[in-house]
């Protein structure tokens, strides 16, 4: 295997971009790392060079070729809104941003690989879905939510780009729901609510990807990219009820009629933005992805299976009791107090 060379990480200030930069910094095959984002990274990334640029702006087409990357990693697809990225900007960042980035990549001479950190949400969640989606099953179910359509659209642009540039290894990583200590996202906030609402009569099968594996798989795919989509999912699956029991949560079942409105309300309260609809379906029907390509072709060995992630998550959050929840940063209880 040839050394990886110069890596440009787009969206380096996101959690995943920063984690990837840190991991790659330890890789001897990576000679240089350059990070691009709209704001500087929140953590110290050592020798990683930082370039402030917005991928939604065509200027990126002039900046990127100058950096002479061997590998471009796109971590700038965001799932959840935050203070700097309101909900209505997500479509722009995800779709238009990717489109501009692909246009910029066309101008880069000697680009060997393009790795995109996408989402398994493209598969959707449905009652008749296969227990484990393989990579060829995208769009088998209609894309029903706004986020799904966004992912579908950007995967379409990505496929086009890959077809037009056979000399570039284009790798689309489809990530399952991520959970881990030190991580904060609406799904984790949901799991750590003092009383967790569930949809009465439904117990979805979930796959929880440990944050260690999420970073590890992204780094592995950067060093050893393969063509086409790759599911990033752990082995096995765990039902929501068992996950909540393992972490000692109290639950309350909501009848389906109420659940629809309520889950949307809870979703926006926890900051899931455009993802709350995906959450509603995910927490009703669940989703499983086959990870054979990741294990055998990318060659990444997962540290945790679904159950292991759940146990680790439960152990690290053990201090939180039902009666006296100690809110973690970003929890709705904390934001109420402000």
């Amino acid at each position: 295997m040839s050394p990886t060379g110069r890596v440009v990480i787009v969206g380096v200030s996101t959690h995943w971009g920063s984690e990837l930069a840190r991991t790659l910094a330890r890789d001897p095959g990576v000679t240089e790392i350059v990070g691009i984002d709209t704001a500087p990274p929140k953590v110290d990334l050592g020798e990683t060079e930082f370039v402030e640029a917005d991928i939604r702006n065509p200027v990126i087409s002039r900046i990127l070729p100058g950096l002479k990357p061997d590998v471009v990693v796109h971590c700038g697809i965001v799932l959840y809104p935050d203070e700097e990225r309101p909900s209505r900007a997500l479509h722009d960042i995800n779709v238009i941003g990717t489109l501009q980035l692909l246009a910029a990549c066309e101008k880069v001479d000697g680009l060997r690989a393009l790795v995109v950190r996408g989402s398994a949400a493209i598969y959707g969640s449905a009652p008749g879905a296969p227990a484990f989606f393989t990579e060829d099953m995208a769009r088998r179910l209609p894309l029903v939510t706004r986020f799904q359509r966004d992912v579908g659209e950007l995967e379409g642009y990505f496929d086009n780009f890959a077809r037009r540039h056979p000399q570039i290894t284009c790798c689309m990583l489809r990530f399952q729901t991520e959970v881990g200590p030190g991580l904060d996202n609406p799904f984790i906030r949901y799991l750590t609510l003092p009383v967790v609402p569930t949809q009465l009569g439904f117990d979805p099968r979930l796959q929880l990807l440990h944050s260690i594996d999420a970073t590890g798989a992204l780094a592995a795919a950067t060093v050893n990219p393969v063509r086409g989509p790759v599911n990033v999912a752990p082995d096995g699956a765990i039902s929501l009820s068992r996950l909540l029991r393992l972490s000692g949560r109290m639950t309350v079942g909501m009848p389906p009629i109420v659940a629809k409105t309520l889950f949307r309300r809870i979703g926006s309260m926890l900051g899931s933005g455009g993802m709350s609809e995906d959450g509603l379906f995910l927490l009703r029907y669940g989703r499983g992805c086959d990870n054979r390509r990741l294990r055998e072709e990318v060659g990444y060995e997962l540290a945790f299976d679904s159950e292991g992630t759940a146990r680790d998550f439960a152990a690290k959050r053990h201090g939180m009791s039902v009666l006296f929840p100690s809110p973690h940063p970003g929890s709705p209880v904390r934001s109420l107090g402000r």
């Binding site: 009652p127 296969p130 227990a131 393989t134 117990d203 699956a237 039902s239 068992r242 996950l243 029991r245």
Partner: protein
């Protein structure tokens, strides 16, 4: 642990206490989430817990007779293809599984492909999954067979499950033969199965279009007891059953790529359909009266 058996007979009491204690421990363990479920959501402990209900139905309620259960391979992959009926609940699948658990020299749990809309119904969705049901997609069937599991499929699907009483024991069209394709791909032997008796448990006299639209179910059947008697109408009638497992069909002789040969797939599918139909007629004669 054995009891300390005192002469005054309090040993019996102690045993009772221990049973309660064990049950409590098991309940506490489950509440803490300390149990196993496999990657499809099958929960063996749960399946064992509801098994006595199936046993009662099997032995006392439907007095099931079984023939040829040893035709089901004792280990490795196997595809069980049966006629479908039941109208309200797929008891035919449950009884096939119970027959293998109770009568087979090497008993094991059998998975089933379940009609997809079952997974859209509250409670039914997770009940089905816990006792070993998966949604009916070729991907699930292929994966389970690849893991050397025995799997039941009902290629008639909803057409067989919800057919009117007047059409009982007439095997409907076998879909597109997807199960044959997967069997060819995975080299799984096919065991045709004929289930007699499940047609009489909920004789479907008609359908209620209004209730179906209201509830979102694909159809709502009208049986002599349902929905007239409400939930009580869900009590299945005590017909007599007879399940016949036929000789397995070995598909390993067909070369690679055989699954893409449409005419071969349709031929095999039709052949199996006819075998099941013939076995049904035979079984009906052998069973005799439906209820007594």
């Amino acid at each position: 642990m054995s009891n300390q058996g005192r002469p005054d007979g309090s040993g019996l009491e102690l045993e009772w206490v221990e049973t309660v204690q064990e049950t409590m421990e098991r309940v506490m363990r489950r509440v803490a989430g300390e149990y196993h479920e496999d990657e499809y959501g099958f929960d063996e402990e749960f399946a064992e817990a509801v098994f006595p209900i199936w046993e009662f139905l099997y032995k006392r309620w439907w007095r099931v007779q079984v023939e040829g259960v040893s035709n089901v391979p004792g280990h490795g992959r196997a595809l069980l293809v049966a006629n479908h009926s039941g109208t309200i609940f797929p008891f035919d699948a449950v009884m096939m599984g119970t027959a293998i658990q109770k009568e087979h020299p090497l008993p094991r749990w059998t998975r089933a492909l379940v009609l997809n809309w079952a997974f859209d119904l509250p409670f039914v969705s997770y009940f089905m999954r816990r006792i070993g049901g998966v949604s009916s997609t070729p991907a699930n069937l292929g994966r389970l067979l690849g893991q050397d599991e025995p799997v039941m499929v009902f290629p008639e699907g909803a057409k067989g499950f919800g057919k009117p009483f007047a059409e009982r024991y007439r095997v409907q069209r076998f879909g597109r033969g997807g199960f044959v394709e997967v069997a060819l791909e995975t080299g799984s032997p096919i065991v045709p199965v004929a289930v007699v008796g499940a047609e009489e448990i909920y004789p479907k006299l008609g359908e209620s279009g209004v209730l179906a639209r209201l509830s979102g179910a694909p159809y709502v059947p009208i049986t002599p007891l349902f929905p007239m008697l409400g939930p009580l109408g869900l009590l299945p009638l005590p017909s007599r059953w007879r399940i016949e497992f036929l000789e397995p069909i070995d598909l390993s002789g067909y070369g690679p790529g055989a699954s893409e040969d449409r005419s071969l797939v349709f031929d095999l599918s039709e052949q199996i359909r006819e075998m099941v139909q013939e076995a049904l007629y035979r079984g009906l004669v052998k069973r005799g009266s439906a209820f007594l």
